[in-house]
């Protein structure tokens, strides 16, 4: 469906999504007319879904980020639905992922500091329904964070 020209455009767009169209055309080595035609088609077919702003939580005073890996009590048939619905209500939860593997769910949780994290953990997270096991990975640093696809 996609050819090398599309891939070249996507690579340049992933590298710098704020690029003006004329610069993007030059970097991808296509004419502006070709670029707009290709972009329109990739939007129509749903390859390009859009753009979103990346929020840097430490700049808002949230210095701590913890990955909470959770195993649910799967003898409860509504374990996933109940747990996910309740987790969405916790304001400090910024990401929810579900998995096939040892871990069922991962929550990304942000907090102002360790004391704040402890408070959220005790009052809002450990009280979530159907938890069988919890394990925390505290983030020290993020070395690479680009969700670019190797197209």
């Amino acid at each position: 469906m996609l050819d090398d020209t599309d891939r070249r455009i996507l690579r340049q767009m992933q590298a710098d999504p704020d690029l003006a169209l004329s610069d993007l055309a030059a970097r991808a080595n296509v004419t502006p007319a070709t670029l707009s035609r290709r972009l329109e088609r990739m939007r129509e077919t749903g390859v390009i879904l859009g753009k979103r702003a990346e929020i840097h939580w430490p700049a808002l005073g949230y210095a701590v980020e913890v990955n909470l890996r959770i195993t649910l009590d799967k003898t409860q048939s509504r374990a996933f639905d109940d747990f996910l619905a309740a987790a969405r209500e916790v304001p400090e939860v910024i990401e929810i992922q579900t998995f096939l593997g040892q871990v069922d769910v991962r929550l990304a949780v942000i907090a102002r500091d360790i004391a704040h994290y402890q408070q959220i953990y005790r009052e809002r997270l450990l009280t979530l329904p159907h938890i069988a096991d919890v394990e925390a990975l505290m983030q020290v640093s993020r070395i690479k964070n680009d969700e670019s696809l190797p197209v």
């Binding site: 469906m1 996609l2 996507l10 767009m13 992933q14 999504p17 704020d18 077919t45 749903g46 390859v47 390009i48 879904l49 859009g50 753009k51 979103r52 702003a53 990346e54 929020i55 840097h56 939580w57 700049a59 808002l60 005073g61 949230y62 990955n67 969405r88 304001p91 400090e92 939860v93 910024i94 990401e95 929810i96 992922q97 579900t98 998995f99 096939l100 593997g101 040892q102 871990v103 991962r106 942000i110 394990e135 925390a136 990975l137 505290m138 983030q139 020290v140 640093s141 993020r142 070395i143 690479k144 964070n145 680009d146 969700e147 670019s148 696809l149 190797p150 197209v151």
Partner: protein
């Protein structure tokens, strides 16, 4: 640290969902003039609250059917340099995210692959051969949602 009012929070929520919205469009929605909206966005960028823009692509349509999170424990702590591991793992194109963590694992990786056998290739040829890589745990991503966080 920057102070946010309700309008800033609404702006961040909107841009977090769709960063292609123009200042004029956002302003109309929030009852602000276009220049006032633009000034607020510029302030949020300058304060580092908006760290950048992400292009959102449909992974499956581009042939990446599998996303795996890998917990990696380093085998010989102390003897292996973290820098060497980090430099090598960051260079692998299929590795999207590398986080240094404290807990059961030393690093947490997000990896995209075409399918499970492609993932196996990445794991065997590129991850297991990294300097210092020890025990790994893989979890295949089934679903993922981002929430607006404390901006609500």
């Amino acid at each position: 640290m920057i102070d946010l009012d309700d309008t800033d929070r609404a702006l961040l929520r909107a841009l977090g969902r769709d960063a292609s919205l123009s200042a004029g469009h956002l302003g109309r929605r929030l009852g602000l003039s276009q220049p006032a909206t633009w000034r607020r966005i510029r302030r949020l960028r300058e304060a580092g609250v908006i760290a950048g823009t992400r292009l959102v692509l449909d992974r499956e349509k581009l042939g990446f059917g599998v996303t795996v999170f890998l917990g990696v424990k380093l085998a010989t702590k102390g003897r292996i340099s973290l820098e060497d591991f980090e430099r090598a793992v960051t260079a692998i194109p299929e590795v999207q995210v590398v986080e240094h963590v404290l807990g059961l694992y030393d690093y947490r990786l997000r990896i995209v692959a075409r399918d499970l056998s492609d993932f196996e290739r990445v794991l065997r040829r590129r991850i297991m051969t990294l300097p210092g890589a020890g025990q790994v745990e893989a979890n295949v991503l089934l679903s993922e949602e981002r929430l607006p966080g404390p901006l609500r």
